[in-house]
């Protein structure tokens, strides 16, 4: 179970998050949608303290942390219970695919080396790139790198995986396969909080959708309600842009 309560964050006096609440139950997938600059990514980064919120509480499992009082240990605890998939993969460029995954087990979590390698290999197999285990990130395509990013996230068996626009940096033909992979993870019971522009993916996979605008959750609910019968005008305006180019043809 994951929760954020009353998250507020400003950058140089510029309010980006205005008191946001998020709840993700175990095994649930929550998708955050919204225009650029609405605060989605910042919210996700506040969840694991890559960005430190000014106010609010974060809860992972049984651990509640007041962001104002969080010390180094609290932050490490939260980070070691969670995983993050980055838009630009952020793989360690000095490590192989296998090294990228096993490093996250051996160094912060003190998993013995052999066991870490075994778990890492399992994770790479699960995302379908076991054959690239010994390649460095620079030798992998974007889609393959993101698979490693996802393998890294599942290998640490986190309470929740945060995904920040995991397909936004990918070529169109690769987006589908990564989304399919994420869908498989969701069906297998992974808990995920995902910032995405893939409306169809959110519709199919998410249990709950949050629409954010100007640092607030404007509307939330099951995807079918949000997408079919949006109550708020701002949600409607946002979705109109997407529904018109759901399938673009030339």
């Amino acid at each position: 179970m994951f929760e954020m309560r009353g998250i507020k964050k400003s950058f140089n006096g510029n309010r980006v998050l205005n008191g946001v609440d998020v709840t993700v139950d175990k095994g649930e997938v929550v998708a955050i949608i919204g225009a650029s600059g609405s605060g989605k990514t910042t919210l996700l980064r506040c969840a694991n303290f890559l960005e430190r919120a000014d106010e609010g509480n974060v809860r992972v499992g049984d651990k509640w942390v007041d962001v104002k009082k969080a010390n180094k240990k609290d932050i490490l605890d939260i980070r070691r219970m969670t995983a993050f998939v980055f838009q630009n993969y952020s793989l360690f460029s000095n490590k192989t695919a296998l090294g990228n995954v096993s490093e996250c087990l051996t160094t912060p979590r003190k998993v013995p080396r052999d066991e870490a390698r075994r778990i890492a290999m399992e994770a790479l197999t699960r995302v379908g790139i076991a054959d690239k285990a010994d390649d460095y990130p620079s030798e992998l395509s974007g889609g393959q790198q993101q698979r490693v990013g996802i393998a890294r996230a599942i290998a640490v068996s986190p309470d929740i995986i945060f995904l920040d626009e995991p397909t936004s940096a990918l070529d169109p033909e690769l987006i589908g396969e990564i989304l399919l992979l994420l869908k498989d993870l969701a069906l297998a019971g992974a808990t995920m909080l995902i910032v995405t522009h893939e409306i169809r993916f959110a519709m199919e996979v998410a249990n709950q959708v949050l629409f954010m605008d100007e640092g607030l959750v404007v509307e939330s609910g099951p995807p079918r309600e949000i997408f079919r019968f949006p109550k708020e005008e701002r949600t409607r305006a946002f979705l109109r842009r997407f529904t018109s180019d759901f399938d673009y043809q030339i």
Binding site: L76, A83, S90, F92, N94, K95, S138
Partner: protein
């Protein structure tokens, strides 16, 4: 003007006797400078007060003054200071006159190359993308763990070409330490040349020796680079 091959050979044998000292100075300077200069680079990157301004001052001082002047300056200053200090501690300070000048040479070389190498590292650390830190932090690495496992290895391989230049710079700089009486390659060559007044042969010899050592250093760094740099 005649060039005596025979004497060139004799002088070569004599000059080669200085190679261990020259190599020692290179290896010791470089080896000691690695961790210290990296720490200096960190202090500068993170603007740690008061280290950051002090290091900046030190770097600009050393860079703006010739190493030969440092050698003369510290050759006169350091033994005096150490002698006084030793007497102060109740030790026999006159022992300082038995000190091999090679240690003083090492000190001055270190003083100089710390500045260059810390700049090499500073550039390398700054060149590492922010996402490498975030990738590590997001998975629960502490700052020290992120540095040890991710950042330092990357900074090392980025800094390698520049460090190679610094190592060659150290090699070349060792050729002036004879002025404080260190028996390096150059000192040996000068001595054997002086006994026979055949300078040209001896100086050709040391050029060859320096060239060979330089080639070896370059080779070592090339090997290290091809090892690390597969990414």
């Amino acid at each position: 003007m005649n060039f005596s091959l025979g004497f060139a050979l004799t002088a070569m044998v004599e000059s080669l006797k200085g190679v261990p000292v020259t190599l020692f100075l290179i290896v010791a300077t470089f080896g000691l400078a690695l961790p210290i200069s990296f720490s200096m680079a960190l202090a500068r990157v993170y603007k740690i007060f008061p280290l950051d301004p002090l290091i900046r001052l030190y770097v600009s001082f050393v860079r703006g003054t010739p190493m030969l002047a440092h050698l003369f300056f510290f050759y006169n200053l350091l033994p005096m200071v150490i002698r006084k200090a030793m007497f102060g501690l109740g030790l026999n300070g006159n022992l300082v006159y038995d000190l091999n000048p090679v240690w003083l040479a090492l000190f001055v070389l270190l003083l100089n190359y710390l500045t260059f190498m810390s700049e090499n590292f500073r550039a390398a650390i700054l060149s590492i993308q922010k996402d490498q830190f975030e990738g590590a932090y997001a998975f629960g690495f502490t700052k020290a763990q992120a540095y040890r496992r991710i950042i330092i290895p990357q900074a090392m391989s980025t800094a390698l070409p520049a460090l190679s230049n610094s190592a060659i710079g150290i090699l070349k700089s060792t050729s002036v330490v004879f002025v404080i009486g260190v028996r390096d390659v150059t000192a040996n060559a000068k001595q054997v040349a002086a006994t026979s007044y055949r300078y040209l042969e001896a100086y050709v010899d040391i050029l060859i020796i320096y060239l060979v050592i330089c080639f070896l250093i370059t080779r070592i760094f090339q090997l290290a680079e091809s090892r690390i740099r597969r990414r």
